[in-house]
Amino acid sequence: MSESIINEQEEAIKVDYEKGNFSFPEDYTYDAGTGLNEETVAYISKVKNEAEWVKEFRLKALEIFNKKPMPTHWASKDLENIVFDNIRYYLSKGQKPSRTWDEVPDDVKETFERLGIPEQERKFLAGVEAQFDSEAAYSRMKEDLEKEGVIFVGSTEGLEKYPEIFRPYFGKVIPSADNKFSALNSAVFSGGSFIYVPKGVKLKQPLQAYFRINAENFGQFERTLIIADEGSEITYMEGCTAPKFETATLHSAVVELVALKNAKIQYITVQNWSNNVFNLVTKRAHAEENAEVKWIDCNIGSRLTMKYPGVVLKGRKARGEVLSIALANDGQHQDTGAKMIHLADETSSNIISKSISIGKGRSTYRGQVHMPKHLKNCKNNTECDALLINTNSRTDTYPAITTRGEGNTVQHEASVSKVSAEQIFYMMQRGLSEGEAMSLAVNGFVNDLLKAFPMEYSVELKRLIDMEMEGSVG
């Protein structure tokens, strides 16, 4: 790769995430108030002018949410610090997503400009949706894709305009009752992307969504559903930031992917929430015959992230992959992992997880690989590597692998390593600052995984890691 290409790429995605720490005064037309009950849900449904079935779907989910206990018997007790009554569940300016940046309200437009979104769109994206608190402020896709029948809209518009496409899959990959937070999302969801890629259509450039929280005490609950019809291909990327408020903020998304026969979906997340955000997200895909789903999941920010992207391998020869990088700095807990559910012969899955814990940061890997007895010739490969920087940080690995049946192979490797003071001294002796030395060690640790990422994102991720490492040196 030549130098000029690298420089160009770096320029193309100059997103300085420290710049995420700002907010504009609140100015909302619709506000569901504080706390959650049936009226809150009814208010959201009414503002969105939803069909009756959607409202009922929400109310039923609310009931499930209220009944389900917090999963603190296995997960972090920090979850108990979420006060659902103090959260605001819906805030919007009451306008439809604009098709040009000029029509976007000034404060919102300036927000996304400071985050570099319009610039990225011009340089390498096929379409962008920019969500500000509860609703998208901007949504646009290249016209040629529209002509090919690609649908790229928000959740409200998707359910309203294309129920015949989306309704059959909505809430089917991840039922409301999957867990407490999928139920919460199902009750109050707003925003997110609904995407349909018709048979045989292959998107050459990624679609991107950017999620921005502006208001304090706010909960963001976007809902994404991507359907890749037979033989189609799509890459979707999401990014996110929020200002550093005094109080905790909640982000709880549900993302459902459906890859039909021979389709390919690649879903890339670069999560850089500020350290007051609880990021509790459920992500799962169905992969039909010979389909391929790849989750690339990078978690740099947040106070607590709990996220285990999964693939249900439903059809013969379906393939699933989760490549993840988690970086837990002081005061952060990255509780991440992957799920691979093999339900057909000759399915294969690959999980590579790399976590970095710095200072008092904590990383946890939870993995589930399920291969029932009747299946033949299934394969899984799992690798989890943890890197610890200084003695206070903590890492745990909880792999759960159930394999039955003959001819199925599972391979699991785990490693824990440390960046030693002697390694840092060695690098500093060559002239690198302490931050640069740590950054280089961390980049080296994730290097082989970064090579598997699309280049735009590996460059961006490297920059984020550099910034985190520079910031972690006192």
Partner: protein, 254 residues
């Protein structure tokens, strides 16, 4: 002033004195060899000069071209012109030799300047050829899985790429076979210049068959007890360290 000058340096580890009133002056253009038995403080000296934080300097001074480097960070000392070739180079997984040296060279440029990749690789390949290092090496992770000889050659490669004013080589010859030893010595001889000073720390005389030092110092119990020319190394080799102890140390003690 163009020298690496150490004056009356006293250094403790865990309250235990290791270097005792150690003094040494290496002007630019000279190669000094420092010999001595194990445990006499040779490696401690190398690390203290390079700014390692585990050592307690109780008194003394280290001047690099007239400027004190005591108490400075290792990277500041490196950028001031001092290079330490490690006795045991550390492995840095996932970081290629090419990227590592590039980062180190970048650190020497002003903030708004970046390295010219074409020129960089040309220089790197030329110097690798000179040191008989296979070009495929550039992509390998730094020191990871390297043999002893490969690690030491990699240290010399870094040294020649960073072009320091002063080079300290801490037992670079240990664990090397005769071929690797020659390659390392060739590297040092190529860099030998009126503009550069060397301190070659070694336990054995054999490296000094290939790198002829200007001055040889014998260190014992935390200080230099005797200095001489290149012949001293040979004398030491034939007579052994007991000779040093009997001839120089006991007389000092009186």
């Amino acid at each position: 002033m163009q020298s690496l000058e150490i004056t009356n340096l006293n250094v403790n580890i865990d309250g235990q004195p290791i270097l005792k009133d150690f003094s040494l002056n290496i002007p630019k253009g000279e190669i000094h060899a420092l010999m001595g038995p194990n445990g006499t403080g040779k490696s401690t000296l190398a690390k203290v000069i390079a700014g390692h934080e585990d050592y307690e300097v109780t008194s003394g001074e280290i001047l690099l071209n007239g400027e004190s480097i005591l108490g400075k960070e290792p990277d500041e000392i490196s950028l001031a012109g001092l290079f330490l070739a490690f006795q045991y180079p550390l492995e840095i997984p996932g970081v290629s030799i090419a990227n590592f040296i590039r980062a180190a060279k970048q650190a020497r440029l002003p903030e708004n300047e970046s390295i010219n990749a074409v020129e960089y690789y040309k220089e790197l390949y030329d110097k690798m050829d000179a040191l008989k290092i296979d070009r495929k090496f550039t992509a390998r992770s730094l020191n990871e899985g390297f043999s002893g000889g490969e690690k030491k050659r990699c240290e010399v490669l870094q040294m020649s790429m960073l072009e320091p004013d002063y080079c300290i080589m801490d037992e670079t010859d240990s664990g090397l076979d005769i071929d690797a030893l020659k390659i390392v010595a060739d590297g040092v001889n190529l860099m030998r210049s009126p503009e550069r000073g060397f301190l070659i720390i070694t336990h054995y005389q054999r490296l000094l068959d290939y790198i002829i030092p200007d001055v040889v110092h014998v260190m014992y119990d935390g200080k230099i007890v005797h200095s001489g020319d290149a012949e001293l190394a040979k004398e030491l080799e034939s007579k052994g360290y007991d000779w040093v102890k009997d001839s120089f140390v006991s007389s000092l003690a009186q």
